[in-house]
Amino acid sequence: MEREDIDLLLDTVRRWFSVNHPMEVRVAAFRRGNAEDVSTWSRMAELGWLGLSLPTDAGGFGAGYGVSFELIREIGRDARPEPLDLHLVLAPMLATAVPTLAGALASGAMRIGLADRAQSEDSVRCDGGDRLNGRAGTVLGGEYATHLLVPTACANVSSLLLVDLQAEGVVKAPARLIDGRHAPQFSFRSTPSLRLGGNAVVQRALDLAAAAQVVDSAGVLDAAFALTLDYLKQRVQFGKPLSSQQAVQHKMAEIFCDLQQLLALAGRLAGELDAAPEGDWPTLAVAKSFVGRRALRAAGQLIQISGGIAVTEEYRLTHFYRRLHVAATLFGSAESQLARIDVRGQLLSA
């Protein structure tokens, strides 16, 4: 895609987000959660967004991760409830594995959710064949999903399984994430599934979802920062704007450093993904751990210097902060990402 086309797309995205359940409207109705509407999914399909990242030979636009990431940043900025980020990063992988699915993915007829690795003792396992039992980890995009991608261990072999949610033995229980998004819990009883691959495929799916969380966080922190900067310039205490207090200025400067680094990490990650869609992506673990270690703290400091208003439900910062908590935790927390970083590999890979 040409830069001109990308800018046009992003303009459309921003405009569409601003009139279709924008964050201001959702914040005012936060008691109902950060709820998505299934109808928005088919409208996103009509706008062509669902085919954006699909290969051209599968009827898509063949946009790279760099382009998808620019869109995902807008998703973060508006804290969208629809799992479009997940779709953009996983659809190409899925369409490559099962080419016949591309059409349904692009039209919105097939909607995928992804389960994180399960933590519980009754976590999903296979019975030796392709039948699934047990409880899946936390699912993103599960509310209106038609299919789930579930990482699991079958007789000590890791597998990524595709589950049709119309199949027998699927139990869906309501739950939500701390940022208000719906995150129903799924468990299975002898549910049939399709195996897409082994350990490498499991890790690739989770890492793609983690990458989307990194970029979403960059959008979230970017919007949270802009909101706060604007507020600090307006809010007068001690006879002058808060933004003129040196203690506040220094805090904002610190947070700005974090924001710039996060944006840069997201950009570097996009480059790695586009250069090697099958992996490996050395920046992934660094960037994902950065969300938990730095971005979350930066957002906490934005709340701190905004004062009381920033702990009220009606203020957007509250919701940005909670969304960052989700991003920091799902698909590999900071601790588990740090554990993956190979110092020599990172620093001597050139």
Partner: protein, 393 residues
């Protein structure tokens, strides 16, 4: 030997435990554990039970209902209460309004208000902050004008914790419009049922309701409902805020929380089935919280010792507030880290603990605790107080 291990203190702790075992009923414990924001009834019931034992307000002077305990006794009492999940009483009456009336109120006010605080019969709230007077409290705009034998109050206040439970408010309002901002303020006692007062709930990040906005439309209060001297309200406010900041350190409750984290780390397992506590990084994290806690506790005990001998805490209270509030946030952050997915998935009605019972309430606690470094004077304000009032910078 630990400073808590003297024979006297051990005997005292046993006495407190025995009292808690006998009087702290299951429903009170459940109410304390169930949510961040207690209803009035359990708080009042527990306060009445403490008062019947003579422990209604240990930190008050003995003549007015205090216990005459040492700081270690007071701290031990608060610690055992926290360990047992006893409800907190009305902190506004016990730690703010009460001590201000003791320090500056008339004998009539002391006789009228203090016994009701002790007995848990009247609850208070604090009318200080305004929408445009947060960190810059002295710029507040609420006015009080004398009309005959009554003061007439107009304006609005915000961040009234527990305002919806309160019978009375201590309210800082402007009575002199000519002098510099700090010099023209007076402390008033308002009846929350007075005509012209209207409350509006403010929901916080934890999705709970504990704070309110309040509007005054020609609210009348009798002439004698001024605490202390006219136009001296700022001095009383500074003293009150220093006392509040000692309380904000929340050392006993934080100790309880760290113990809960340790328990969680022993019970919860990682993806490989190994208890979290076996991970060196987890142990180090808990150890560093513990070390920072003991440092906080030591400083708190120093200030409590002065307080129990009748001395006001002064600006040093700011150090307790800064370190105590930061630690509270780190504790709940650590809980969410340990819980991983169990910390971010909630039941539809926002109950925690959906994936692991240990997760119950931590997300709410963590989100609500973003405010502890902001309320009672943001930590940035505390640092300015330390720099100016103590260090003379």
């Amino acid at each position: 030997m630990s400073i808590f291990q003297t024979p006297e203190l051990r005997a005292f702790r046993a006495e407190v435990r025995e009292f808690l075992q006998q009087h702290l009923t299951d429903d009170l414990v459940q109410a304390t554990r169930a949510g961040l924001h207690l209803e009035r009834e359990p708080m009042a019931r527990w306060q009445a039970a403490l008062n019947a034992r003579g422990w209604g307000a240990p930190h008050w002077p003995r003549a007015l209902g205090g216990t005459g305990w040492s700081e270690l006794q007071r701290y031990t009492f608060e610690e055992e209460s926290a360990f047992a999940d006893a409800p907190l009483g009305d902190v506004h009456g016990l730690f703010l309004a009460g001590p201000m009336i003791i320090a500056a109120g008339s004998p009539e006010q002391q006789a009228r208000y203090l016994p009701k605080v002790l007995a848990g019969e009247e609850f208070w709230c604090q009318g200080f902050s305004e929408p445009n007077a947060g960190s810059d409290l002295a710029s507040l705009k609420t006015t009080a004008r004398l009309e005959g034998d009554e003061w007439v109050i107009n304006g609005q206040k915000t961040w009234l914790s527990s305002g919806h439970h309160a019978d009375l408010m201590f309210c800082l309002a402007r009575t002199d419009f000519e002098s510099k901002p700090q010099a023209g303020l007076t402390q008033f006692i308002l009846d929350m049922r007075a005509p012209g007062i209207s409350l509006q709930p403010i929901l916080t990040m934890d999705e709970g309701h504990s704070v309110n906005a309040v509007f005054f439309d020609n609210v009348r209060t009798p002439r004698e409902n001024v605490i202390g001297k006219l136009n001296h309200g700022w001095t009383y406010a500074k003293e009150l805020l220093a006392r509040e900041r000692v309380n904000n350190a929340q050392a006993p409750r934080t100790k309880r929380d760290i113990i809960e984290l340790d328990r969680m780390a022993r019970r919860c397992k990682d993806v490989t089935g190994r208890p979290l506590i076996e991970d060196l990084r987890v142990r180090r994290r808990l150890a560093s919280l513990t070390a920072d806690f003991v440092a906080l506790e030591s400083a708190v005990l120093g200030v409590l010792a002065e307080q129990m001998s009748g001395k006001e805490p002064g600006p040093a209270a700011s150090t307790l507030k800064i370190r105590g509030s930061e630690l509270q946030q780190r504790v709940s952050e650590t809980a969410l880290l340990l819980l991983e997915q169990a910390g971010i998935v909630l039941s539809p009605d926002y109950g925690g603990g959906l994936l692991a019972p240990e997760g119950l309430g931590w997300a709410e606690r963590h989100f609500f605790r973003r405010v502890v470094t902001i309320y009672a004077g943001a930590n940035e304000i505390q640092k300015s107080i330390i720099a100016k009032s103590i260090l003379d910078m």
